[in-house]
Structures are given as structure tokens and as C-alpha cells.
């Protein structure tokens, strides 16, 4: 496959960092550290094969033809680029993660819809000092008396049958 030579980072780390949620900052820093280490390694190594001064060797070495052979082979040498074995794994994980993100976004949208509905309920409410008791009962139906679900005397929530106390509730 054609070797994709790379010499510097093409990722916008600032934009990436701004998208990291607060709880995952440590993981992001570790990841960035690793990426920086790889980049440093690439930069410190020379990009292509350094040249060898064969003329000097030819003058000094008495072994017949050795330098010439070496020179010919050196020039003709093609170093194979290492094979990429993990890209497929990355693609798999990426597609799984994309599916997860879609599911999360869907759940998030549902939550936003519920919150928006509640917000609409609050904002459509008239001010308290203009309400009658009937309008209050319409705005807060679960707190008003209803004929369908009557409560027992003394009408406190903890005195009703089937009441389950919340954990850590006050006395």
C-alpha cells in the first residue's frame, strides 16, 4: 500500500481539548502525552537514509571491489514501510463508539424534550398573586385534593397507606 509519510501533527488539539468533559480530563492528558511522545520520536529521527561518503572508503580500503559492491547495493536498497495492522481495529471501535454516541444523543434529546415541557409549564403559569385556588389546583394537580384519589386524615403524605419513606428523610 502507498506509504503515507507523516512528519507533523494535523490534529487541532485546542478544539479537541475544548470538547473533553470535565471528568475525562485526566484521560485526555494521558492520551495527549502519548501522542506527543510519538511525534517527538518521529521528529528526532532523520527523514531519509543518510549518505555515506564512498569515495573516501574506496581510496583507503584495499579489498578489491568491496566498496563498489557496497555502494551499488546501498543505492539500490529499498527499506519496506511497516505494515499497518491496527487500522481495522480502530475502524471497528470507531463505528461502535459512533453508535453509542447516537444512542446517547437520542436519550439526551428525549431528556431535553421533557425538560422543555416542564419549562413551558412553568413559564405559562400566571403569577401566584393572580391565581385563584382553582387555577392553583390546575397548575399543581398533584398537590390539590382530587375526588379520584382522596387522602386519609390527617392528610399528611407520611400518614397515607402505602407510603414509603425516602432514605435519609427527616423525622
Amino acid at each position: 500500500m502507498a506509504a503515507r509519510r507523516i512528519a507533523s501533527s494535523s490534529i487541532d488539539w485546542a478544539a479537541f481539548a475544548s470538547r473533553v468533559p470535565a471528568g475525562q480530563k485526566n484521560m485526555f492528558n494521558a492520551f495527549k502525552g502519548k501522542s506527543d511522545a510519538y511525534l517527538r520520536k518521529v521528529i528526532t529521527l532523520p527523514e531519509s537514509v543518510p549518505a555515506i561518503n564512498f569515495a573516501e572508503y574506496k581510496a583507503r580500503i584495499p579489498v578489491a571491489g568491496m566498496v563498489d559492491t557496497f555502494q551499488k547495493e546501498y543505492e539500490a536498497l529499498k527499506v519496506p514501510y511497516p505494515a499497518d495492522t491496527v487500522s481495522q481495529q480502530i475502524a471497528d471501535v470507531e463505528s461502535a463508539a459512533a453508535a453509542e454516541v447516537q444512542a446517547f444523543i437520542k436519550g439526551s434529546e428525549a431528556r431535553i424534550a421533557k425538560l422543555t415541557e416542564e419549562l413551558g409549564h412553568w413559564e405559562a403559569m400566571i403569577p401566584y398573586d393572580q391565581m385563584t385556588m382553582e387555577e392553583w389546583a390546575e397548575a399543581f394537580p398533584e398537590q390539590a385534593i382530587s375526588m379520584e384519589k382522596p387522602t386519609m386524615w390527617p392528610h399528611h403524605p407520611e400518614d397515607q397507606p402505602g407510603y414509603v419513606a425516602k432514605e435519609g428523610a427527616e423525622h
Partner: protein
């Protein structure tokens, strides 16, 4: 007790147990169906109604004003009182004078303590109503904040794409680093071999040279015969004598 009972129905604070029958099963906000133009909502009045002389409603004076002017209601009051007292329709008996004394004391007490108690009660009402209003405001803000946070979480989740780009780039960087390492290895290996040959050639030349020098010197030394040595020594002495200063 003179009050506004005469003119409109009282809206006292109802007790908590109000039986309300919702007339519809859907969550319709009946508040929005009201005709606000012709039937504006009545807000809870904050100030008590205007009165004259402590207990006579202002509206009664307004009622008289168009027909009889400013002094009308007062004249009416005086006339009515005179009529009731002179005809003994209103009998001023013992309880009346008791009531008069109590009235005086009551006026004094109200003037002294009234404002203080009124302020205290107003503050209590403020606290209660304020807590409701605060709860409402906080609910609204909390919901808005929650919506914002959800949207932000969605935006952050979409940043995953950059993560995978970065991973691919890391793989590419590692491959590149391995390739460059290979190049460096090739270079160093070839150079090592050539250098070795160079060094061996150098060593060989150096040893040959040294050996040759030693051999020549030894041979020359060996070829010096004793006669040559004596003649050379004599020559040296003669030279030295010639060099020495002429001393007596």
C-alpha cells in the same frame, strides 16, 4: 362592622382544604382561556382600601361627590346621626358609654401598635410568598441550565470523531517512527562494516611501516664492522679535538 361587604364579595384567605374538581382530563391550562380584556385578573391587593376617619370607605364619599360635592357625605352623616339620636332610634344607654370608652382606648392602641404589627405581618407574608416565587424562579433557571448542560454534553460527545482521527494519526506516527528507525539501522550497519575494513587496513599499514623501520635499523646496526667502528670513533675524537678551543 362596616366593610366592603356592601359593595363586593369578600375574598378571604380560604383554608387549605379546598375541594376542586378538575373539569377536564387533559392538561389544559385553563388560565390561558380567560378573556383578559373584559375580565382582567384581580391581583392580591397590597394596601388596605382607602378609608376616611378610620372606618368609612372612600367609595362612599365618591358616590356622594357627583350629586352633593365635598361636604355632602358629611352632612348626610351628621343628619343621619342626629335623626337617630333625637328620635331615640339609636338609644344611648349604658353600653353606649362603655363602647365609647372602649372605642377611645381602641383608637389609642391601634395608633400605637398598629404600624408595628402591620409591618411584622407584612414581612411574614413577604417571606411566604417570596419563598414560592423563589422556588418558581429557581425551577425555571434549573430547567434552563439542565437543557443547556444536555446540549453541551451532546456537543462534547460529538468530539469523539476527533479522538479517532487522533488515534489514526498516532498509528501513522508510530509506523513512520519505525520506518525511520529502519533507515537509521541500515545506515549504521553499512557504515560499521566499511569502518571495520578501513580500520583493519589502517592497522595493517601501520604495522608494516613499523616493522620495516625496525628491520632497516637493525640491519644497519648489524652491518657496522669493528674496524669501521674504531675508524668512526677515531674520526669523532679528531673532530672533537679540532672543535675544542685552543688551550695551552
Amino acid at each position: 362592622m362596616l366593610s366592603r361587604l356592601a359593595l363586593r364579595s369578600v375574598q378571604e384567605a380560604r383554608p387549605f382544604l379546598v375541594a376542586v374538581r378538575p373539569t377536564s382530563t387533559t392538561a389544559v391550562n385553563k388560565a390561558t382561556e380567560r378573556d383578559e380584556v373584559n375580565f382582567p385578573r384581580r391581583a392580591r391587593p397590597v394596601e388596605p382600601g382607602k378609608v376616611r376617619m378610620g372606618f368609612l370607605p372612600e367609595e362612599w364619599f365618591q358616590f356622594f361627590y357627583s350629586k352633593t360635592g365635598v361636604t355632602g357625605p358629611y352632612m348626610f352623616g351628621v343628619g343621619l346621626t342626629t335623626f337617630l339620636c333625637s328620635k331615640e332610634i339609636y338609644v344611648m344607654e349604658h353600653e353606649f358609654y362603655t363602647g365609647l370608652s372602649i372605642f377611645v382606648m381602641a383608637v389609642y392602641a391601634i395608633k400605637k401598635l398598629g404600624p408595628g404589627i402591620a409591618n411584622y405581618l407584612d414581612k411574614e407574608i413577604e417571606d411566604i410568598e417570596g419563598s414560592w416565587v423563589k422556588y418558581r424562579q429557581e425551577s425555571v433557571e434549573g430547567l434552563k441550565q439542565a437543557i443547556e448542560d444536555e446540549k453541551k454534553a451532546q456537543w462534547e460527545a460529538e468530539g469523539q470523531k476527533i479522538l479517532f482521527d487522533a488515534k489514526r494519526e498516532n498509528v501513522a506516527l508510530q509506523l513512520e517512527a519505525a520506518y525511520r528507525e529502519r533507515l537509521a539501522t541500515v545506515h549504521s550497519e553499512v557504515k560499521k562494516r566499511l569502518d571495520y575494513q578501513l580500520e583493519t587496513a589502517n592497522v595493517k599499514t601501520r604495522i608494516e611501516q613499523k616493522h620495516m623501520v625496525n628491520w632497516i635499523v637493525n640491519n644497519v646496526k648489524a652491518s657496522i664492522t669493528p674496524a669501521q667502528e674504531a675508524a668512526a670513533l677515531k674520526q669523532c675524537f679528531a673532530d672533537l679535538k679540532g672543535l675544542a678551543p685552543q688551550s695551552a
